[in-house]
Assembly symmetry: C2
Homo-oligomer: 319 residues x 2
Protein backbone atom coordinates (compact mmCIF):
# COMPACT_ATOMS: atom_id res chain seq x y z
CA UNK A 1 0.00 0.00 0.00
CA UNK A 2 1.45 3.34 -0.95
CA UNK A 3 1.12 6.30 1.28
CA UNK A 4 -1.49 7.82 -1.00
CA UNK A 5 -3.76 4.85 -0.38
CA UNK A 6 -3.47 4.96 3.35
CA UNK A 7 -6.27 6.62 5.24
CA UNK A 8 -5.44 10.16 6.13
CA UNK A 9 -5.81 10.85 9.82
CA UNK A 10 -5.96 14.45 10.96
CA UNK A 11 -5.35 15.12 14.65
CA UNK A 12 -6.59 18.30 16.26
CA UNK A 13 -3.93 18.01 18.87
CA UNK A 14 -2.49 19.40 22.02
CA UNK A 15 0.44 18.46 24.18
CA UNK A 16 1.09 15.72 25.09
CA UNK A 17 0.28 14.24 21.68
CA UNK A 18 -1.45 10.87 21.42
CA UNK A 19 0.68 7.78 21.04
CA UNK A 20 -0.31 6.45 17.65
CA UNK A 21 2.73 4.25 16.97
CA UNK A 22 0.52 1.29 16.25
CA UNK A 23 -0.83 3.12 13.21
CA UNK A 24 2.62 3.50 11.64
CA UNK A 25 2.44 2.48 7.99
CA UNK A 26 -1.33 2.16 8.21
CA UNK A 27 -2.37 5.78 8.24
CA UNK A 28 -0.93 9.08 7.14
CA UNK A 29 -1.05 11.20 10.27
CA UNK A 30 -1.20 14.97 10.10
CA UNK A 31 -1.68 17.48 12.87
CA UNK A 32 -3.70 20.65 12.98
CA UNK A 33 -4.50 23.35 15.45
CA UNK A 34 -7.46 25.72 15.57
CA UNK A 35 -5.91 28.00 12.97
CA UNK A 36 -5.16 25.28 10.41
CA UNK A 37 -8.07 22.91 10.99
CA UNK A 38 -10.40 24.36 8.34
CA UNK A 39 -7.85 24.14 5.54
CA UNK A 40 -6.81 20.58 6.41
CA UNK A 41 -10.23 19.03 6.94
CA UNK A 42 -10.97 18.52 3.19
CA UNK A 43 -7.91 16.29 2.93
CA UNK A 44 -8.66 14.02 5.88
CA UNK A 45 -10.57 10.75 6.10
CA UNK A 46 -10.65 10.69 9.86
CA UNK A 47 -10.49 13.48 12.45
CA UNK A 48 -9.25 12.73 15.95
CA UNK A 49 -10.20 15.53 18.32
CA UNK A 50 -7.42 15.09 20.83
CA UNK A 51 -7.68 18.67 22.06
CA UNK A 52 -11.11 18.14 23.54
CA UNK A 53 -11.15 21.62 25.07
CA UNK A 54 -11.07 23.22 21.63
CA UNK A 55 -14.20 24.56 19.97
CA UNK A 56 -12.47 24.70 16.57
CA UNK A 57 -14.46 21.86 14.98
CA UNK A 58 -17.74 23.70 15.45
CA UNK A 59 -16.58 26.57 13.26
CA UNK A 60 -14.33 24.75 10.83
CA UNK A 61 -16.59 21.96 9.69
CA UNK A 62 -17.01 22.18 5.89
CA UNK A 63 -20.47 22.69 4.41
CA UNK A 64 -20.17 19.86 1.90
CA UNK A 65 -17.25 18.79 -0.26
CA UNK A 66 -14.57 16.33 0.82
CA UNK A 67 -14.32 15.95 4.56
CA UNK A 68 -13.72 13.27 7.19
CA UNK A 69 -16.41 10.66 7.39
CA UNK A 70 -15.47 9.78 10.95
CA UNK A 71 -14.76 12.12 13.86
CA UNK A 72 -13.60 10.70 17.19
CA UNK A 73 -13.29 12.86 20.29
CA UNK A 74 -11.08 11.90 23.23
CA UNK A 75 -13.79 13.00 25.62
CA UNK A 76 -17.13 11.89 26.96
CA UNK A 77 -18.96 15.13 26.15
CA UNK A 78 -19.39 16.15 22.51
CA UNK A 79 -20.89 19.62 22.93
CA UNK A 80 -17.60 21.22 21.85
CA UNK A 81 -17.89 19.55 18.41
CA UNK A 82 -21.49 19.76 17.51
CA UNK A 83 -22.01 22.92 15.54
CA UNK A 84 -24.89 22.99 13.02
CA UNK A 85 -22.60 21.90 10.20
CA UNK A 86 -21.48 18.64 11.77
CA UNK A 87 -24.90 17.92 13.27
CA UNK A 88 -26.53 18.21 9.83
CA UNK A 89 -23.80 16.17 8.14
CA UNK A 90 -25.49 12.83 7.62
CA UNK A 91 -22.44 11.16 6.15
CA UNK A 92 -20.08 11.71 9.03
CA UNK A 93 -20.17 9.53 12.12
CA UNK A 94 -19.04 10.91 15.49
CA UNK A 95 -17.75 8.69 18.29
CA UNK A 96 -16.70 9.50 21.84
CA UNK A 97 -14.52 8.05 24.59
CA UNK A 98 -17.25 6.18 26.41
CA UNK A 99 -15.68 3.64 28.76
CA UNK A 100 -12.65 5.66 29.87
CA UNK A 101 -14.04 8.23 32.28
CA UNK A 102 -16.89 6.49 34.10
CA UNK A 103 -15.07 4.91 37.04
CA UNK A 104 -12.61 7.79 37.60
CA UNK A 105 -15.43 10.35 37.64
CA UNK A 106 -17.53 8.17 39.94
CA UNK A 107 -14.58 7.92 42.34
CA UNK A 108 -14.10 11.66 42.16
CA UNK A 109 -17.74 12.32 43.01
CA UNK A 110 -17.51 9.88 45.91
CA UNK A 111 -14.39 11.73 47.07
CA UNK A 112 -16.21 15.07 47.00
CA UNK A 113 -19.33 13.75 48.71
CA UNK A 114 -17.37 12.08 51.50
CA UNK A 115 -15.03 15.05 51.93
CA UNK A 116 -17.92 17.43 52.31
CA UNK A 117 -19.73 15.07 54.70
CA UNK A 118 -16.62 14.72 56.83
CA UNK A 119 -15.84 18.46 56.71
CA UNK A 120 -12.35 17.79 55.37
CA UNK A 121 -11.87 21.20 53.75
CA UNK A 122 -12.41 22.75 57.16
CA UNK A 123 -10.00 20.27 58.73
CA UNK A 124 -7.31 21.34 56.28
CA UNK A 125 -8.01 24.97 56.99
CA UNK A 126 -7.77 24.33 60.74
CA UNK A 127 -4.58 22.33 60.25
CA UNK A 128 -3.06 25.35 58.48
CA UNK A 129 -3.94 27.42 61.55
CA UNK A 130 -2.62 24.74 63.96
CA UNK A 131 -6.02 24.61 65.58
CA UNK A 132 -7.51 21.48 67.15
CA UNK A 133 -11.27 21.81 66.86
CA UNK A 134 -13.41 18.70 67.09
CA UNK A 135 -16.63 18.75 65.05
CA UNK A 136 -19.42 16.31 64.36
CA UNK A 137 -19.42 15.08 60.78
CA UNK A 138 -22.33 13.92 58.65
CA UNK A 139 -23.28 10.33 58.06
CA UNK A 140 -23.38 9.59 54.35
CA UNK A 141 -25.07 6.21 54.65
CA UNK A 142 -28.83 6.49 54.82
CA UNK A 143 -28.96 9.84 53.01
CA UNK A 144 -30.49 10.56 49.61
CA UNK A 145 -28.69 11.38 46.39
CA UNK A 146 -30.08 12.56 43.06
CA UNK A 147 -27.84 12.04 40.05
CA UNK A 148 -28.88 14.12 37.05
CA UNK A 149 -27.65 12.39 33.91
CA UNK A 150 -28.42 8.80 33.03
CA UNK A 151 -25.53 8.05 30.69
CA UNK A 152 -22.73 5.69 31.66
CA UNK A 153 -21.06 8.34 33.82
CA UNK A 154 -24.24 9.16 35.74
CA UNK A 155 -24.96 5.50 36.25
CA UNK A 156 -21.41 4.78 37.43
CA UNK A 157 -21.74 7.63 39.93
CA UNK A 158 -25.03 6.15 41.13
CA UNK A 159 -23.39 2.74 41.65
CA UNK A 160 -20.68 4.26 43.82
CA UNK A 161 -23.11 6.33 45.85
CA UNK A 162 -25.32 3.30 46.41
CA UNK A 163 -22.25 1.38 47.59
CA UNK A 164 -21.77 4.13 50.18
CA UNK A 165 -25.26 3.47 51.47
CA UNK A 166 -27.02 6.43 49.82
CA UNK A 167 -30.54 6.04 48.50
CA UNK A 168 -29.80 7.16 44.96
CA UNK A 169 -32.15 8.24 42.18
CA UNK A 170 -30.99 8.81 38.60
CA UNK A 171 -32.79 11.33 36.40
CA UNK A 172 -32.49 11.23 32.61
CA UNK A 173 -34.07 12.67 29.50
CA UNK A 174 -36.74 10.00 29.58
CA UNK A 175 -37.97 7.56 32.19
CA UNK A 176 -36.82 3.96 31.78
CA UNK A 177 -35.88 1.08 34.06
CA UNK A 178 -33.88 2.54 36.92
CA UNK A 179 -34.09 6.07 35.53
CA UNK A 180 -36.58 8.79 36.41
CA UNK A 181 -37.91 11.13 33.75
CA UNK A 182 -37.48 14.90 33.85
CA UNK A 183 -40.97 15.37 35.27
CA UNK A 184 -39.74 13.91 38.56
CA UNK A 185 -36.63 16.06 38.80
CA UNK A 186 -37.96 18.78 41.08
CA UNK A 187 -39.54 16.32 43.47
CA UNK A 188 -36.28 14.39 43.72
CA UNK A 189 -34.18 17.56 44.09
CA UNK A 190 -36.40 18.69 46.94
CA UNK A 191 -35.60 15.66 49.06
CA UNK A 192 -31.97 15.05 48.10
CA UNK A 193 -29.05 15.52 50.47
CA UNK A 194 -26.66 15.29 47.52
CA UNK A 195 -27.36 16.53 44.00
CA UNK A 196 -24.89 15.44 41.34
CA UNK A 197 -24.90 17.01 37.88
CA UNK A 198 -23.49 14.60 35.29
CA UNK A 199 -25.66 15.24 32.25
CA UNK A 200 -24.41 15.94 28.74
CA UNK A 201 -24.65 19.55 27.63
CA UNK A 202 -27.59 19.81 25.24
CA UNK A 203 -30.30 22.35 24.55
CA UNK A 204 -32.41 20.58 27.17
CA UNK A 205 -29.76 20.72 29.88
CA UNK A 206 -28.18 24.13 29.23
CA UNK A 207 -28.64 26.22 32.36
CA UNK A 208 -30.92 23.66 34.00
CA UNK A 209 -29.50 24.34 37.46
CA UNK A 210 -30.87 27.82 37.86
CA UNK A 211 -32.20 29.91 40.74
CA UNK A 212 -35.50 28.05 40.75
CA UNK A 213 -33.84 24.64 41.00
CA UNK A 214 -31.44 25.73 43.74
CA UNK A 215 -34.48 27.15 45.51
CA UNK A 216 -36.17 23.77 45.43
CA UNK A 217 -33.25 22.06 47.16
CA UNK A 218 -32.99 21.61 50.92
CA UNK A 219 -30.88 24.05 52.95
CA UNK A 220 -28.88 20.99 54.00
CA UNK A 221 -28.26 19.87 50.41
CA UNK A 222 -24.90 19.74 48.66
CA UNK A 223 -24.46 20.23 44.94
CA UNK A 224 -21.71 18.75 42.75
CA UNK A 225 -21.11 19.42 39.05
CA UNK A 226 -18.83 17.10 37.08
CA UNK A 227 -20.77 17.40 33.80
CA UNK A 228 -20.34 20.65 31.94
CA UNK A 229 -20.10 24.14 33.36
CA UNK A 230 -23.00 25.39 31.28
CA UNK A 231 -25.42 23.04 33.05
CA UNK A 232 -25.27 25.56 35.89
CA UNK A 233 -26.24 29.21 36.01
CA UNK A 234 -23.18 30.13 37.99
CA UNK A 235 -24.55 33.41 39.30
CA UNK A 236 -27.59 31.58 40.62
CA UNK A 237 -25.40 29.03 42.39
CA UNK A 238 -23.31 31.78 43.96
CA UNK A 239 -26.44 33.49 45.20
CA UNK A 240 -27.85 30.20 46.52
CA UNK A 241 -24.63 29.66 48.48
CA UNK A 242 -24.52 33.21 49.81
CA UNK A 243 -28.15 33.05 50.91
CA UNK A 244 -27.62 29.54 52.30
CA UNK A 245 -30.35 28.06 50.17
CA UNK A 246 -28.03 25.06 50.02
CA UNK A 247 -25.24 23.91 52.31
CA UNK A 248 -22.36 23.84 49.86
CA UNK A 249 -21.19 22.95 46.39
CA UNK A 250 -18.25 21.59 44.44
CA UNK A 251 -17.62 22.50 40.81
CA UNK A 252 -15.10 20.68 38.66
CA UNK A 253 -16.39 22.28 35.44
CA UNK A 254 -17.17 25.91 34.61
CA UNK A 255 -18.82 28.10 32.08
CA UNK A 256 -15.39 29.39 31.06
CA UNK A 257 -12.32 27.23 31.58
CA UNK A 258 -9.76 27.70 32.87
CA UNK A 259 -10.92 30.04 35.59
CA UNK A 260 -8.77 33.15 35.53
CA UNK A 261 -7.04 34.33 38.71
CA UNK A 262 -9.54 37.17 39.04
CA UNK A 263 -12.61 34.97 38.79
CA UNK A 264 -14.88 35.54 41.80
CA UNK A 265 -15.73 31.80 41.93
CA UNK A 266 -12.43 31.03 43.65
CA UNK A 267 -13.63 32.66 46.84
CA UNK A 268 -17.31 31.93 47.19
CA UNK A 269 -17.95 30.67 50.74
CA UNK A 270 -18.98 27.02 50.68
CA UNK A 271 -17.80 26.45 47.11
CA UNK A 272 -15.08 23.94 46.29
CA UNK A 273 -13.34 24.58 42.96
CA UNK A 274 -11.23 22.03 41.07
CA UNK A 275 -9.70 22.31 37.59
CA UNK A 276 -11.78 19.96 35.41
CA UNK A 277 -9.89 16.85 36.46
CA UNK A 278 -12.57 14.48 37.73
CA UNK A 279 -12.05 11.95 34.94
CA UNK A 280 -8.32 12.27 34.58
CA UNK A 281 -6.30 9.61 36.34
CA UNK A 282 -2.69 8.62 35.81
CA UNK A 283 -2.43 6.94 32.41
CA UNK A 284 -5.68 8.40 31.08
CA UNK A 285 -4.12 9.85 27.93
CA UNK A 286 -2.65 6.47 27.06
CA UNK A 287 -6.05 4.87 27.57
CA UNK A 288 -7.65 7.45 25.29
CA UNK A 289 -5.00 6.86 22.61
CA UNK A 290 -5.34 3.09 22.84
CA UNK A 291 -9.12 3.39 22.60
CA UNK A 292 -8.81 5.44 19.41
CA UNK A 293 -6.45 2.88 17.89
CA UNK A 294 -8.95 0.12 18.68
CA UNK A 295 -11.74 2.03 17.01
CA UNK A 296 -9.47 2.85 14.07
CA UNK A 297 -8.86 -0.84 13.50
CA UNK A 298 -12.59 -1.52 13.42
CA UNK A 299 -13.12 1.38 11.02
CA UNK A 300 -10.24 0.21 8.81
CA UNK A 301 -11.80 -3.24 8.65
CA UNK A 302 -15.17 -1.79 7.70
CA UNK A 303 -16.76 -2.96 10.94
CA UNK A 304 -19.36 -0.98 12.84
CA UNK A 305 -18.03 1.49 15.40
CA UNK A 306 -19.13 1.56 19.04
CA UNK A 307 -19.75 4.79 20.95
CA UNK A 308 -21.59 6.44 18.07
CA UNK A 309 -23.03 9.80 19.07
CA UNK A 310 -26.59 10.74 18.21
CA UNK A 311 -25.73 14.18 16.87
CA UNK A 312 -29.27 15.48 17.23
CA UNK A 313 -29.42 14.48 20.86
CA UNK A 314 -25.82 15.29 21.65
CA UNK A 315 -24.78 12.04 23.33
CA UNK A 316 -24.43 8.31 22.79
CA UNK A 317 -27.96 6.99 23.28
CA UNK A 318 -29.16 3.70 24.69
CA UNK A 319 -27.84 1.30 27.27
Amino acid sequence: MTSSQRPRLLVLDTEPRPRLGRLTGRATVEYADASTLAERLPYADVLLVWDFASLAVRDAWPRGGPRPRWVHTASAGVDHLLGPGLVADEETVVTNARGIFEAPIAEYVAALVLSMAKDLPRSWELQGRREWRHREALRVSGGRACVVGSGPIGRAIARYLKALGLHTAVVGRAARAGVHGPGELDRLLARADWVIAAAPLTEATYGMFDARRFGVMQPSAWFVNVGRGQLVVEDALVEALRKRWIAGAALDVFDREPLGPDDPLWEVPGLIVSPHMSGDTVGWRDELGAQFVELFELWEAGKPLPNVVDKQRGYVPGH
Copy 2:
Protein backbone atom coordinates in the same frame (compact mmCIF):
# COMPACT_ATOMS: atom_id res chain seq x y z
CA MET B 1 -38.77 1.10 95.27
CA THR B 2 -37.07 3.66 97.49
CA SER B 3 -34.09 5.57 96.30
CA SER B 4 -31.80 3.50 98.50
CA GLN B 5 -32.80 0.36 96.65
CA ARG B 6 -32.21 1.82 93.21
CA PRO B 7 -28.96 0.97 91.51
CA ARG B 8 -26.43 3.72 91.92
CA LEU B 9 -25.03 4.90 88.61
CA LEU B 10 -21.86 6.96 88.66
CA VAL B 11 -21.06 8.93 85.52
CA LEU B 12 -17.51 10.07 84.79
CA ASP B 13 -18.82 12.86 82.69
CA THR B 14 -17.99 15.71 80.40
CA GLU B 15 -20.07 18.25 78.56
CA PRO B 16 -22.46 17.65 76.97
CA ARG B 17 -23.79 15.21 79.57
CA PRO B 18 -25.54 12.02 78.50
CA ARG B 19 -29.31 12.06 78.23
CA LEU B 20 -30.39 9.56 80.83
CA GLY B 21 -33.99 10.66 81.25
CA ARG B 22 -35.24 7.15 80.63
CA LEU B 23 -33.52 6.06 83.84
CA THR B 24 -35.46 8.54 85.98
CA GLY B 25 -36.81 6.75 89.05
CA ARG B 26 -34.88 3.61 88.13
CA ALA B 27 -31.37 4.61 89.06
CA THR B 28 -29.71 7.11 91.34
CA VAL B 29 -27.40 9.04 89.08
CA GLU B 30 -24.32 10.78 90.40
CA TYR B 31 -21.58 12.55 88.54
CA ALA B 32 -17.84 12.55 89.09
CA ASP B 33 -14.78 14.06 87.48
CA ALA B 34 -11.18 12.91 87.63
CA SER B 35 -10.67 14.52 91.05
CA THR B 36 -13.73 12.94 92.70
CA LEU B 37 -13.86 9.59 90.95
CA ALA B 38 -11.82 7.62 93.50
CA GLU B 39 -13.92 8.70 96.47
CA ARG B 40 -17.21 8.00 94.69
CA LEU B 41 -16.43 4.62 93.16
CA PRO B 42 -17.05 2.61 96.38
CA TYR B 43 -20.65 3.85 96.44
CA ALA B 44 -21.54 3.00 92.84
CA ASP B 45 -23.02 -0.14 91.32
CA VAL B 46 -22.39 0.94 87.75
CA LEU B 47 -19.81 3.28 86.23
CA LEU B 48 -20.53 4.99 82.92
CA VAL B 49 -17.34 6.38 81.43
CA TRP B 50 -18.85 9.17 79.39
CA ASP B 51 -15.61 11.15 79.31
CA PHE B 52 -13.82 8.59 77.19
CA ALA B 53 -10.75 10.80 76.84
CA SER B 54 -10.10 10.60 80.58
CA LEU B 55 -7.51 8.26 82.05
CA ALA B 56 -8.97 8.66 85.54
CA VAL B 57 -10.37 5.12 85.83
CA ARG B 58 -6.94 3.58 85.42
CA ASP B 59 -5.67 5.28 88.54
CA ALA B 60 -8.82 5.43 90.62
CA TRP B 61 -9.97 1.83 90.44
CA PRO B 62 -10.20 0.44 94.00
CA ARG B 63 -8.06 -2.52 95.01
CA GLY B 64 -10.93 -4.49 96.50
CA GLY B 65 -13.80 -3.36 98.67
CA PRO B 66 -17.13 -2.13 97.35
CA ARG B 67 -16.95 -0.97 93.75
CA PRO B 68 -19.02 -1.02 90.54
CA ARG B 69 -19.56 -4.46 89.12
CA TRP B 70 -20.18 -3.05 85.67
CA VAL B 71 -18.23 -0.40 83.79
CA HIS B 72 -19.48 0.84 80.43
CA THR B 73 -17.39 3.15 78.25
CA ALA B 74 -18.93 5.34 75.56
CA SER B 75 -16.08 4.47 73.21
CA ALA B 76 -14.82 1.62 71.07
CA GLY B 77 -11.32 1.55 72.53
CA VAL B 78 -10.87 0.59 76.19
CA ASP B 79 -7.15 1.27 76.62
CA HIS B 80 -7.93 4.39 78.69
CA LEU B 81 -9.70 2.27 81.32
CA LEU B 82 -7.62 -0.81 81.67
CA GLY B 83 -5.11 -0.23 84.41
CA PRO B 84 -3.85 -3.26 86.30
CA GLY B 85 -6.53 -2.85 88.98
CA LEU B 86 -9.51 -3.15 86.68
CA VAL B 87 -7.87 -5.81 84.51
CA ALA B 88 -7.29 -8.00 87.55
CA ASP B 89 -10.78 -7.37 88.94
CA GLU B 90 -12.57 -10.59 88.10
CA GLU B 91 -15.89 -9.44 89.46
CA THR B 92 -16.33 -6.34 87.30
CA VAL B 93 -17.49 -6.61 83.74
CA VAL B 94 -16.47 -3.95 81.19
CA THR B 95 -18.53 -3.19 78.09
CA ASN B 96 -17.89 -0.83 75.19
CA ALA B 97 -19.81 1.05 72.50
CA ARG B 98 -19.46 -1.53 69.77
CA GLY B 99 -21.98 -0.83 67.04
CA ILE B 100 -21.91 2.97 67.14
CA PHE B 101 -18.65 3.90 65.46
CA GLU B 102 -18.12 1.28 62.75
CA ALA B 103 -19.94 2.86 59.81
CA PRO B 104 -18.92 6.48 60.58
CA ILE B 105 -15.25 5.51 60.86
CA ALA B 106 -15.42 3.42 57.69
CA GLU B 107 -16.92 6.41 55.86
CA TYR B 108 -14.21 8.64 57.26
CA VAL B 109 -11.46 6.30 56.08
CA ALA B 110 -13.07 6.14 52.63
CA ALA B 111 -13.17 9.95 52.62
CA LEU B 112 -9.46 10.15 53.42
CA VAL B 113 -8.46 7.49 50.89
CA LEU B 114 -10.47 9.08 48.09
CA SER B 115 -9.34 12.60 48.99
CA MET B 116 -5.71 11.60 48.89
CA ALA B 117 -6.18 9.68 45.63
CA LYS B 118 -7.88 12.66 44.04
CA ASP B 119 -5.34 15.15 45.44
CA LEU B 120 -8.09 17.20 47.05
CA PRO B 121 -5.88 18.82 49.71
CA ARG B 122 -3.76 20.22 46.89
CA SER B 123 -6.87 21.40 45.05
CA TRP B 124 -7.93 23.34 48.12
CA GLU B 125 -4.49 24.83 48.46
CA LEU B 126 -4.55 25.87 44.80
CA GLN B 127 -8.05 27.28 45.18
CA GLY B 128 -6.77 29.48 48.00
CA ARG B 129 -4.09 30.78 45.61
CA ARG B 130 -6.63 31.23 42.75
CA GLU B 131 -4.52 28.92 40.63
CA TRP B 132 -5.96 26.60 37.97
CA ARG B 133 -3.59 23.65 37.71
CA HIS B 134 -4.84 20.43 36.20
CA ARG B 135 -3.29 17.24 37.58
CA GLU B 136 -3.78 13.55 37.02
CA ALA B 137 -5.36 11.82 39.98
CA LEU B 138 -4.98 8.23 41.15
CA ARG B 139 -7.44 5.46 40.44
CA VAL B 140 -8.58 3.86 43.67
CA SER B 141 -10.28 0.89 42.07
CA GLY B 142 -7.88 -1.96 41.37
CA GLY B 143 -5.43 -0.91 44.07
CA ARG B 144 -4.54 -2.80 47.23
CA ALA B 145 -5.42 -1.96 50.80
CA CYS B 146 -4.25 -3.51 54.05
CA VAL B 147 -6.44 -2.90 57.10
CA VAL B 148 -4.67 -3.61 60.39
CA GLY B 149 -7.27 -4.46 62.99
CA SER B 150 -9.88 -7.17 62.58
CA GLY B 151 -12.51 -5.95 65.00
CA PRO B 152 -15.84 -4.60 63.83
CA ILE B 153 -14.30 -1.24 62.91
CA GLY B 154 -11.51 -2.79 60.84
CA ARG B 155 -13.98 -5.06 59.10
CA ALA B 156 -16.37 -2.19 58.36
CA ILE B 157 -13.48 -0.25 56.84
CA ALA B 158 -12.60 -3.28 54.72
CA ARG B 159 -16.18 -3.52 53.45
CA TYR B 160 -16.15 0.10 52.34
CA LEU B 161 -12.76 -0.18 50.68
CA LYS B 162 -13.85 -3.33 48.84
CA ALA B 163 -16.95 -1.47 47.65
CA LEU B 164 -14.59 1.12 46.15
CA GLY B 165 -12.90 -1.65 44.17
CA LEU B 166 -9.81 -2.06 46.35
CA HIS B 167 -8.32 -5.51 46.88
CA THR B 168 -8.43 -5.42 50.66
CA ALA B 169 -6.70 -7.64 53.21
CA VAL B 170 -7.48 -7.52 56.93
CA VAL B 171 -4.79 -8.38 59.48
CA GLY B 172 -5.66 -9.34 63.03
CA ARG B 173 -4.13 -10.83 66.12
CA ALA B 174 -4.73 -14.34 64.81
CA ALA B 175 -5.59 -15.76 61.39
CA ARG B 176 -9.18 -16.79 60.85
CA ALA B 177 -11.67 -16.78 57.99
CA GLY B 178 -11.17 -13.54 56.09
CA VAL B 179 -8.42 -12.34 58.45
CA HIS B 180 -4.67 -12.72 58.04
CA GLY B 181 -2.47 -13.41 61.04
CA PRO B 182 0.34 -11.13 62.18
CA GLY B 183 2.93 -13.28 60.42
CA GLU B 184 1.60 -12.01 57.10
CA LEU B 185 1.61 -8.34 58.05
CA ASP B 186 4.93 -7.32 56.54
CA ARG B 187 4.25 -9.09 53.27
CA LEU B 188 0.87 -7.37 52.98
CA LEU B 189 2.28 -3.98 53.95
CA ALA B 190 4.93 -4.29 51.27
CA ARG B 191 2.39 -4.53 48.49
CA ALA B 192 -0.33 -2.21 49.79
CA ASP B 193 -1.22 1.11 48.20
CA TRP B 194 -3.26 2.01 51.28
CA VAL B 195 -2.44 0.98 54.86
CA ILE B 196 -5.17 1.60 57.41
CA ALA B 197 -4.46 1.31 61.14
CA ALA B 198 -7.64 0.44 63.04
CA ALA B 199 -6.39 -1.91 65.75
CA PRO B 200 -7.12 -1.64 69.46
CA LEU B 201 -4.26 -0.36 71.58
CA THR B 202 -2.78 -3.33 73.42
CA GLU B 203 0.69 -4.45 74.40
CA ALA B 204 0.91 -6.23 71.05
CA THR B 205 -0.04 -3.20 68.97
CA TYR B 206 1.71 -0.40 70.89
CA GLY B 207 4.18 1.26 68.52
CA MET B 208 3.68 -1.38 65.83
CA PHE B 209 4.00 1.18 63.05
CA ASP B 210 7.65 1.96 63.50
CA ALA B 211 10.55 2.84 61.22
CA ARG B 212 10.95 -0.74 60.08
CA ARG B 213 7.29 -1.06 59.08
CA PHE B 214 7.25 2.28 57.25
CA GLY B 215 10.42 1.11 55.51
CA VAL B 216 8.65 -2.01 54.29
CA MET B 217 5.89 0.01 52.62
CA GLN B 218 6.00 1.16 49.00
CA PRO B 219 7.10 4.73 48.19
CA SER B 220 3.66 5.10 46.60
CA ALA B 221 1.82 3.91 49.72
CA TRP B 222 -0.48 6.03 51.87
CA PHE B 223 -0.96 5.48 55.59
CA VAL B 224 -4.07 6.27 57.64
CA ASN B 225 -4.49 5.94 61.43
CA VAL B 226 -7.98 6.00 62.92
CA GLY B 227 -7.18 3.58 65.76
CA ARG B 228 -5.11 5.00 68.58
CA GLY B 229 -2.20 7.39 68.35
CA GLN B 230 0.10 5.04 70.21
CA LEU B 231 -0.10 2.45 67.44
CA VAL B 232 2.32 4.72 65.59
CA VAL B 233 5.82 5.82 66.45
CA GLU B 234 5.14 9.38 65.37
CA ASP B 235 8.79 10.35 64.93
CA ALA B 236 9.26 7.37 62.63
CA LEU B 237 6.25 8.39 60.55
CA VAL B 238 7.53 11.95 60.27
CA GLU B 239 10.90 10.68 59.12
CA ALA B 240 9.27 8.29 56.63
CA LEU B 241 7.32 11.21 55.16
CA ARG B 242 10.33 13.52 55.03
CA LYS B 243 12.46 10.85 53.35
CA ARG B 244 9.57 9.94 51.05
CA TRP B 245 9.55 6.32 52.13
CA ILE B 246 5.80 6.63 51.73
CA ALA B 247 3.66 9.01 49.68
CA GLY B 248 1.57 10.51 52.44
CA ALA B 249 -0.38 9.94 55.62
CA ALA B 250 -3.47 11.01 57.52
CA LEU B 251 -3.70 10.87 61.30
CA ASP B 252 -6.96 11.31 63.15
CA VAL B 253 -5.47 10.10 66.46
CA PHE B 254 -2.25 11.03 68.22
CA ASP B 255 0.04 10.04 71.01
CA ARG B 256 -1.04 13.16 72.92
CA GLU B 257 -4.42 14.69 72.30
CA PRO B 258 -5.32 17.41 71.65
CA LEU B 259 -2.30 18.48 69.62
CA GLY B 260 -1.03 21.77 70.98
CA PRO B 261 -0.54 24.73 68.66
CA ASP B 262 3.23 24.26 68.80
CA ASP B 263 3.17 20.60 67.85
CA PRO B 264 5.40 19.98 64.83
CA LEU B 265 2.91 17.44 63.42
CA TRP B 266 0.68 20.24 62.13
CA GLU B 267 3.20 21.09 59.43
CA VAL B 268 4.77 17.85 58.28
CA PRO B 269 4.70 17.78 54.47
CA GLY B 270 2.35 15.10 53.22
CA LEU B 271 0.63 14.66 56.58
CA ILE B 272 -3.07 15.33 57.03
CA VAL B 273 -4.11 16.03 60.63
CA SER B 274 -7.66 15.86 61.96
CA PRO B 275 -8.90 16.17 65.55
CA HIS B 276 -9.96 12.61 66.55
CA MET B 277 -13.35 12.89 64.90
CA SER B 278 -13.53 9.92 62.54
CA GLY B 279 -16.33 8.21 64.45
CA ASP B 280 -18.26 11.25 65.50
CA THR B 281 -21.25 12.09 63.37
CA VAL B 282 -24.21 14.33 64.12
CA GLY B 283 -26.27 12.63 66.83
CA TRP B 284 -23.46 10.34 67.96
CA ARG B 285 -23.73 11.37 71.62
CA ASP B 286 -27.42 10.58 71.62
CA GLU B 287 -26.69 7.20 70.10
CA LEU B 288 -24.10 6.50 72.79
CA GLY B 289 -26.54 7.51 75.51
CA ALA B 290 -29.34 5.39 74.07
CA GLN B 291 -26.99 2.41 73.81
CA PHE B 292 -26.06 2.73 77.47
CA VAL B 293 -29.72 2.85 78.47
CA GLU B 294 -30.37 -0.32 76.46
CA LEU B 295 -27.52 -2.10 78.17
CA PHE B 296 -28.68 -0.79 81.55
CA GLU B 297 -32.08 -2.34 81.01
CA LEU B 298 -30.49 -5.71 80.28
CA TRP B 299 -28.26 -5.40 83.34
CA GLU B 300 -31.23 -4.36 85.50
CA ALA B 301 -33.14 -7.43 84.33
CA GLY B 302 -30.20 -9.68 85.08
CA LYS B 303 -29.71 -10.58 81.44
CA PRO B 304 -26.29 -11.08 79.86
CA LEU B 305 -24.64 -7.95 78.49
CA PRO B 306 -23.35 -7.66 74.94
CA ASN B 307 -20.05 -5.93 74.03
CA VAL B 308 -18.18 -7.48 76.95
CA VAL B 309 -14.48 -6.62 76.83
CA ASP B 310 -11.84 -9.28 77.35
CA LYS B 311 -9.80 -7.26 79.82
CA GLN B 312 -6.67 -9.33 79.32
CA ARG B 313 -6.74 -8.81 75.57
CA GLY B 314 -8.05 -5.26 75.66
CA TYR B 315 -10.96 -5.56 73.26
CA VAL B 316 -14.25 -7.36 72.66
CA PRO B 317 -13.21 -10.70 71.21
CA GLY B 318 -14.92 -12.93 68.71
CA HIS B 319 -17.14 -12.31 65.71
